[in-house]
């Protein structure tokens, strides 16, 4: 059962415009969320995170929004650049003791930024 879902397998946006990537989760115990970026033939790399005590976290061009009541988070990239073209994974964790810092990953959204 997929506890973290990314319902859009792909997204194309024009350079300079906003990219919005969405993620939904089902487990109400999740309280920490991360976005990872993955280029072909490489491992995922950490992009940005948010704790459930916040509803927004910003880092440069990247902003993550969390709506706990809807169990939904989104990643906004503004402005989008061609180098942002990659697969983006959403991941969620329940910060419980003795759980080994486990994360549950979504299926990914492939973002293409068109120059």
């Amino acid at each position: 059962d997929q506890q973290v879902k990314q319902n859009s397998p792909s997204l194309s946006v024009q350079e300079g415009r906003i990219s919005i990537l969405n993620c939904d989760y089902t487990n109400s115990m999740f309280d920490y969320f991360l976005w990872y970026k993955k280029y072909p033939a490489e491992g995922p790399t950490f992009l940005i995170s948010i704790s459930s005590i916040k509803d927004k976290n910003e880092d440069g061009r990247f902003t993550v929004f969390l709506n706990k009541s809807a169990k939904h988070l989104s990643l906004h990239i503004v402005p989008s650049q061609p180098g942002d073209s990659a697969v983006y994974f959403c991941a969620a964790s329940a910060s419980l003791p003795n759980t080994g810092n486990q994360f549950y990953f979504g299926t990914g959204t492939s973002l293409t930024v068109i120059p």
Binding site: Q2, Y32, G43, P44
Partner: protein, 116 residues
């Protein structure tokens, strides 16, 4: 720091063969993980370890074994390869969680395994 390294990068196995996927990290992280990623799917946790000598099953452990004799190394063993194990395998590590109770994981470049 090399970070997380994995060998080999690619491997083709015949059904029933065995092999070990190697993973090493030089960041002195306590936690290490093995994931598999099937086409169009997310990463699924196979096994994880919270320290040398301690391992535990993830979501999809069947057909795999692990060991953790040192902090640095976390090999994944396939004993009887099956076509269903065709996948890309990622190793990851993370430090002890901080105040948030969780921490990011650092990933290796992956091993692409095909079982024919």
């Amino acid at each position: 720091n090399a970070g997380v390294t994995q060998t080999p990068k690619f491997r083709i196995l015949k059904i029933g063969q065995s092999m070990t996927l190697q993973c090493t990290q030089d960041m002195n992280h306590n936690y290490m993980y093995w994931y598999r990623q099937d086409p169009g799917m997310g990463l699924k946790l196979i096994y994880y370890s919270v320290g040398a000598g301690i391992t535990d099953k993830g979501e999809v452990p069947n057909g795999y074994n692990v060991s953790r004799s040192t902090t640095e190394d976390f090999p994944l063993r396939l004993e009887l390869a099956a076509p269903s194990q065709t996948s890309v395998y990622f190793c990851a590590s993370s430090p002890l969680p901080g105040l948030a109770g969780v921490d990011e994981q650092f990933f290796g470049p992956g091993t692409r395994l095909t079982v024919l």
